[in-house]
């Protein structure tokens, strides 16, 4: 099988999450399965490809990608409408270690668009809620206008604890569903002060800017969570997704095939990274 040959994906739906972030619901023909935390190379002929995590579980050949338009490929994607075709390759990489966390308490910690790769793991947990212990989602967004999946918070909150924060408030007086939830202003690390954990029984799945993950990991260590129970999803430049093109190399590791989800002890202290 040629893993460099993309397949067509049809855009079934597009949801504007906020100003520059959209969630695309894609459909592919044939068998397609993916684990939470895996990614696709999403692209278009003549434009290129970018590695994007799935932001939902796969259901009936459909899955979602939540994409912020920032680069050549992701900005190009913004022009597409429902019914258009784009290309994908995947899924690639190792996802969140759901097999290791049965019965455990899980901290899901996300910053910004980093909530996208966390969402499928949350969906999976919610579908088998009883197989897990205490679940908390700690989510920090840049401001109240940049909050993802805000319509799903009510549903989530019925089954898990939700802690929200924004770096800054841009609208005065703050009119947003977030304000009603009594959310914080400050960094996502502050939210860790609000949760009480049983450190021996707790796993953490983190995704966000690498600098945020650095400080979240340090705080978790201070809370006596074991290094090997902390998982991070890394972002690197990628061209192939299968450990060939070399772009995502992280001191011997290939982020695309050995990750993108790593345990903190695998990547802590490696050069050319912030962890």
């Amino acid at each position: 099988m040629n893993l460099l040959k993309p397949i067509k994906a049809k855009i079934k739906d597009i949801k504007q999450e906020c100003e520059d972030i959209k969630t695309y619901t894609l459909f592919v023909k044939g068998l397609f399965g993916a684990m939470p935390g895996q990614f696709n190379m999403v692209g278009y002929p003549g434009v290129g490809e970018a590695p994007i995590s799935l932001s939902s579980v796969v259901y009936n050949g459909c899955f979602e990608h939540t994409i912020k338009g920032v680069g050549r490929v992701t900005k190009f994607l913004e022009r597409f409408r429902k019914g258009d075709e784009i290309l994908i390759r995947g899924p690639f990489g190792k996802g969140w270690p759901l097999d290791k966390v049965g019965g455990k308490d899980i901290l899901l910690i996300a910053g910004g668009v980093g909530l996208a790769p966390i969402r499928p793991v949350l969906q999976k947990i919610l579908s088998k809620r009883k197989s897990f212990g205490k679940i908390s989602l700690l989510y920090g967004a840049k401001n109240e206008k940049r909050v993802l999946f805000i319509n799903e918070f009510d549903k989530w909150q019925k089954n898990i604890s939700l802690y929200l924060t924004v770096d800054e408030v841009v609208q005065h007086p703050p009119v947003s569903p977030l304000a009603e939830r009594g959310s914080n202003v400050g960094l996502v690390t502050d939210l860790l002060d609000k949760v009480k954990i049983d450190s021996k029984n707790t796993f953490a799945f983190i995704c966000g800017p690498e600098i945020m993950m650095r400080f979240v990991c340090l705080r978790l260590l201070a809370m006596r969570v074991d290094k090997s129970n902390i998982y991070v999803s890394l972002e690197r430049r990628m061209k192939c997704g299968i450990g060939h093109c070399g772009h995502c190399q992280h001191f011997g590791l290939f982020v695309c095939k050995d990750g993108p989800v790593f345990s903190y002890d695998q990547v802590c202290g490696l050069p050319d990274g912030l962890l």
Binding site: M1, N2, L3, L4, K5, P6, I7, K8, Y44, P45, G46, V47, G48, E49, V70, G71, E85, I86, L87, P209, E210, E235, R236, R237, K239, C240, I242, G243, H244, C245, G246, H247, Q249, F251, G252, L253, F254, K257, P271, D272, G273
Partner: protein, 351 residues
């Protein structure tokens, strides 16, 4: 090429004239590729006669593996975007080819590329060419000033037991021909004098005398930890600031550097596109750039990536990334020497 065939591992002495006649007889079915001298440089290229071969060559700028098996640039896919998208893969036309005169370092480099492109995920473009390539390796007869293969276990005589087809050792007007694959056993239809204990003794003496000639050495033991513990050693910044131009020569001439970029070319009417891949280099500023950050924005970080990837990070493919060919040293315009960088760190903290 991990598949092990059962075949007669014969060792025979064959006159060079007979050997080259045999090579020419294969040109009916195979493209013949070998070292050719132009003025003062030798390059691997396709030949129409074995007479053009220059088997006594010292080294080449580009390794045969990265010219004829892993291509510097190749087409991956064709697209049509006429309302709907259509995708067509561009698999390589797999001409059968023979590469003759591949030195031990370059043979080992091909075995290294196999670990990448024929590992957990297979690259069909590489695989198709690799399957159709017969590799006839040639043990070295000389040691150049930048060679350090003896320090990394890849030369000057080839030790690998499989993954190539034949091994030649120069015996004046003869070659000691060792068969290393089943397909070579089938192809090699000339009878020579069977090599006995005496010939094998001569071969090992030849190797020993070469081993004494190495000027460049490196102690690779413990380099993994040493680099890991010296990520901020001043040698990285000093070498980067004083010498490195980030020109990527080292990467381009390296026979084991495998990184590639993928680029699309769109037709003028925007209705079709072709997707290519071509060699890329970790020395390029944008190589590790993502939105809002560049993980190797500094020249020192990029230099460290190249050197450590060659000399440690062994766990990546269970072997060291360098084959000791010395090309990165030879072709560095400012004379950066990876063995010297390792030694500089070892001086402060012996392994």
């Amino acid at each position: 090429m991990t598949k092990k065939y059962i075949f007669r591992k014969s060792k025979e002495l064959v006159s060079k004239d007979d050997f080259f006649l045999w090579l020419d007889s294969l040109r009916k079915n195979y493209k013949l590729i070998g070292p050719v001298r132009d003025e003062n440089q030798t390059t691997f290229r396709e030949l129409n006669s074995s007479k053009k071969l220059f088997m006594e060559y010292e080294t080449t700028m580009l390794s045969p593996g990265k010219l004829f098996i892993y291509k510097q640039r190749e087409e991956l896919c064709k697209f049509k975007m006429d309302g709907r998208i259509s995708v067509e893969e561009a698999l390589p036309l797999s001409d059968k080819q023979i590469i003759v005169g591949v030195h031990p370092c370059d043979t080992n480099a091909i075995l290294y590329l196999d670990r990448i492109f024929l590992g957990a995920f297979k690259d069909p473009y590489y695989e198709s060419r690799r399957k159709n390539t017969i590799i006839i390796s040639l043990n070295c007869t000389q040691v150049l000033k930048n060679c350090f293969c003896s320090s990394v276990g890849t030369g000057p005589f080839l030790k690998a037991s499989s993954g190539y087809d034949m091994l030649l050792t120069d015996f004046d007007d003869k070659y000691l021909v060792e068969i290393k694959s089943k397909r070579a056993e089938k192809l090699f239809n000339i009878k020579g004098k069977r090599a006995g204990a005496i010939e094998l003794k001569i071969k090992s003496d030849k190797e020993k005398s070469l081993l004494n000639k190495f000027e460049k050495t490196i102690n690779v033991k413990g380099l993994d930890n040493l680099f890991r513990n010296n990520l901020n050693h001043p040698v990285w910044e000093h070498t980067a600031e004083d010498k490195c131009l980030s020109c990527s020569n080292c990467v381009m001439v390296c026979p084991t550097c495998f990184c590639y970029d993928i680029l699309d070319e769109v037709s003028v009417d925007l209705k079709t596109a072709r997707r290519f891949r071509q060699l890329d280099a970790c020395q390029d500023l944008r190589f590790a750039e993502v939105h809002g950050d560049n993980f190797r924005g500094g020249r020192g970080a990029r230099l460290r990536q190249f050197v450590t990837h060659k000399l440690n990070q062994n766990k990546q493919f269970d072997i060291i990334g360098s084959v000791g060919c010395g090309r990165c040293i030879t072709w560095c315009p400012t004379g950066i020497d990876i063995t010297e960088i390792a030694k500089e760190i070892q001086r402060h903290e012996p392994a």
